[in-house]
């Protein structure tokens, strides 16, 4: 794996909705195998950036080059081809609720590959094992918890062996333990499948566990970039506010937590 190869190259990306300017000037380069965490307050355009990368939203101007191809300039067929190389994990999991877990996982393979039924079943079982939910294979999405839905969402994405994974707030709405589980799952997937990842979150537990590098989005542009430890020591008050929030949250969740001391220690870690 060539870790110096740039797989995502965003230059001067701008996007507004009506008079509301969301992205003013986004510039970002991501090398192969890197895991970038995008931090920012709600409504600052973190998810919009991800959706521009995967072609769900067309930017007003600027370029979004993924594996050398400028996404906004691609035809629908070209975009579909690129999307096979990009995995997108939605905040809610976005499982198809009329299909069972098995059918959810089979669906992209049936539509996009020539694999036979046996190979498809084998892949389904393999990715379910990877996310630790082999027993849920015949369940419907309505029977799954929030954390399980997210794991199945991850499984449905990695089953296509993408080169790039985009994670849209993967831990939002989850308790600290499940947040930690999902974050470690991201790291495991990163190591096993050697993917390049962008994780959008405002959850610092997740950021700490998964990030090689963190970029901070403020006022429609990236203002800071660095490792978790570097940003923790940042002079910028806005950046520090994230780290202060997590300390408060951790203290508050620990004081309200009624579990064992061992579990408290695990959360504190």
């Amino acid at each position: 794996m060539d870790r110096t190869e740039t797989v995502i190259d965003i230059e001067h990306l701008k996007k507004s909705f009506g008079r509301n300017i969301i992205l003013k000037d986004i510039n970002l380069k991501i090398n192969r195998g890197e895991t970038i965490v995008t931090l920012g307050k709600s409504g600052t355009g973190k998810s919009v950036t991800l959706k521009c990368i995967v072609g769900l939203i067309k930017p007003d101007s600027g370029s979004v080059k993924v594996l050398g191809k400028n996404i906004p300039e691609l035809s629908y067929e070209g975009l579909q081809y690129m999307r096979k190389k990009i995995g997108f994990v939605f905040q809610s999991g976005a499982l198809y609720d009329s299909m069972s877990v098995r059918e959810n996982l089979q669906f992209p393979l049936i539509r996009n590959t020539d694999l036979n039924k046996e190979d498809i079943d084998k892949k389904v079982e393999e990715v379910l094992k990877d996310v630790g939910l082999s027993q849920a294979i015949d369940k419907m999405p309505s029977e799954l918890s929030g954390g399980m839905k997210k794991r199945i969402g991850v499984a449905r994405t990695i089953i296509m062996n993408p080169e790039i994974m985009l994670w849209d707030e993967p831990t939002t709405g989850l308790d600290p333990e499940t947040t930690r589980d999902i974050s470690h799952l991201i790291v495991r997937m990163q190591r096993k499948y050697k993917v390049t990842s962008i994780v959008v979150t405002h959850d610092m537990i997740c950021a700490k566990i998964v990030a090689n590098r963190i970029v901070v989005l403020k006022d429609g542009t990236y203002t800071e970039s660095g490792t978790y430890d570097e940003l923790e020591r940042s002079d910028d008050e806005f950046v520090r506010s994230f780290f202060e929030e997590v300390k408060e949250d951790e203290n508050s969740s620990l004081s309200n937590y009624t579990g064992s001391d061992a579990a408290k220690k695990s959360i504190k870690k």
Binding site: R83, F90, S92, A94, L95, Y96
Partner: protein
């Protein structure tokens, strides 16, 4: 340009009409492109057809029964009860059967498609299909529109038959007519053109109900309220379109026949 010259509500109607037209054109561009979702079409046949049999059957029966029952006191004083089968047959096959069943289907099937796709849009399931290169239009829209286009005409024929049976039962309240004679009088009054014309328009009803339901659901805004809006506007627009298609079909049939 429209923005400058037209008031908001008129502009919205133009934009909506254009949106539905454009969506329909996309359907025709993609309908013959692979992959072909045979299983999904069969599933939708079941959802649309089988699950509507009860409602359409009861409605059809009541329409036929009431139509005959209303005609009896009017025609009986003139000794013209023998004309009731012809009247019921013509009324049901030409107009009442297709239109009422079309409206019932617009309500039941149109709202169900609008709500289902609207809900999928709101919960990002359509986006999830899009980003996994699965072309949600091909999978969701084409299968549903094919199913409504083929299944609603069958439902209308089924409703017509039940309505004619309802008419027969009502007629038996006042006179002792055999079912064979009743149906023979019904079909004597109907020419081939009387059957083909209304049957053709039912395909347009089916297509319209499917395409409008899919359009409203597929283009629903974010937020749970949008699901209700998508379902509601699917019913309103497709019901209106059923009436408009009916009017056009009657004019064309009159010119041709």
């Amino acid at each position: 340009m429209l923005k400058n010259f037209l008031p908001g509500s008129v502009r919205d109607i133009f934009l909506e009409t254009w949106g539905i037209f454009d969506f329909s054109m996309r359907f025709f561009r993609e309908v013959f492109k692979p992959p072909y979702n045979i299983n999904e079409v069969i599933k939708q046949f079941f959802q649309i057809g089988n699950k509507s049999l009860g409602l359409v059957g009861i409605t059809g029966f009541i329409i036929g029964f009431v139509l005959a029952l209303q005609a009896i006191p009017t025609l009986q004083p003139f000794g013209a009860t023998s004309l009731i089968p012809s009247m019921v047959g013509l009324g049901i096959v030409l107009e009442i059967g297709p239109v009422i069943t079309g409206l019932i289907c617009a309500g039941k099937i149109g709202s169900s498609i609008g709500a289902e796709l609207g809900s999928m849009k709101v919960t990002e399931q359509i986006d999830a299909m899009e980003v996994s290169a699965c072309n949600p239009f091909n999978f969701l829209v084409i299968s549903r529109v094919i199913s409504t286009t083929l299944m609603i005409p069958l439902l209308i024929i089924y409703a017509d038959v039940i309505a004619l049976l309802g008419g027969y039962l009502a007629l038996n309240v006042v006179s002792d007519v055999s079912i064979g004679l009743y149906f023979s009088q019904v079909f004597d009054a109907l020419s081939i053109g009387d059957i083909i014309g209304p049957t053709i328009k039912t395909f347009f009803f089916g297509f319209t109900i499917g395409i409008v339901g899919c359009y409203k659901g597929y283009n629903a805004d974010k937020g749970t309220e949008s699901v209700g809006v998508a379902a509601n506007s699917s019913v309103v627009i497709s019901s209106l379109m059923v009436i408009i298609w009916d009017m056009i079909a009657v004019q064309i049939t009159n010119i041709i026949l």
